[in-house]
């Protein structure tokens, strides 16, 4: 009766064997109690699992919940609003960067100049310039922080008012 065919039983169960293989399996099972018992168990387990899971039903509210979630989508509205908000935020960020650049540019130039021409005169001039910097720098920094906070709050407000969170109107 040849060697055991247990590893072919799964494919046999799915009718996925070639004709020759199928005949081999069937002939073997006719004369091998162990393999035919194993096959009966596979069939029983498949039946059990199928019955067990087909008795599982989705909760009634599932359908309603899904439809509730997709219904209030006024297609163009949310994306438009969000886009404008994003544009406003980007614009403030751009302004902030421009301001920062304006602060830093003369400062960098001075530093480079100082680095290249080490003379008493220039050092003195630089010293004078740097000493005048703090007040201007602090002022501009405060302005920058204000701008950043402003744009942050705008973004937050926009997200909070996102129409996705509004109920059906």
């Amino acid at each position: 009766m040849g060697k055991h065919i247990e590893d072919k039983l799964s494919a046999y169960l799915d009718d996925a064997l070639t004709t020759d293989e199928r005949i081999d399996v069937e002939e073997h099972m006719d004369s091998c109690a162990a393999c035919s018992e194993a096959f009966r168990e596979y069939v029983a387990v498949r039946e059990l699992v199928r019955t067990a899971f087909h008795s599982v039903k989705a909760p009634e509210r599932l359908e309603e919940a899904v439809m509730e979630a997709i219904r209030p989508i006024p297609a163009a509205k949310p994306s438009k609003r969000f886009f404008y908000g994003l544009a406003a935020c980007l614009l403030s960020l751009l302004m902030l960067l421009a301001v920062l650049f304006a602060i830093m540019a003369p400062y960098t130039t001075t530093l480079i100049t100082v680095g290249y021409r080490v003379t008493d005169n220039l050092l003195q001039a630089a010293g004078h310039y740097v000493s005048s910097l703090p007040s201007a720098f602090i002022g501009l920094l405060a302005g920058a922080i204000l701008l950043l906070t402003g744009s942050g709050l705008t973004l937050k407000a926009l997200l909070n008012h996102s129409p996705l969170k509004e109920g059906p109107s």
């Binding site: 494919a11 799915d14 599982v56 439809m67």
Partner: protein
Amino acid sequence: MEQALERLIRRARQGDQEAFALLVGQYKDKVFRYAYGMLSDRMEAEDVAQEAFLKAYTSLAKLQQVYAFSSWLTQIASRLCYDRLQKRKREQPTDDDRLERIGGSEKGDPDLYLDIRQAMRALSPQHREAILLRDVEGYSYEEIAAMLEIPLGTVKSRIRNARLLLRQAIKLETEENHGEAYRG
């Protein structure tokens, strides 16, 4: 696939919410029991099923073949289930705690045979999935290979191993539960 179903899917794809509602009604049990089989938790399965339908609705335009709707939907649910399992692993290092918690919370659920449920939990997610897709939902090897994006040979061997392990686990569960029943 039946003509009516195909029409329904086409209508839903064009944004017809009524058609989509009918689809949800038709597929909710399938998606839910798959998620339940994967996660062994009713609440989580409900979340996943809901998420899967929402995802399907927003990406219906991407569905290439209308006839493959069922596979496509199951694929979405499958990915969501793996995400959940991954998250679970991160949050709860020991799986045993989790199983105990679920076992405790589902005592009042007479729907599913205890032995099967316990035995399924003993399998890896991949093996559970193989059983659910082949033996519960009846997808072909080819459909499963496409759905999970794995070679056909892998599908065959995974199903074979899953059935072997499930058969062993059920024998074990049955013995254990009988023992418990006699003791208690």
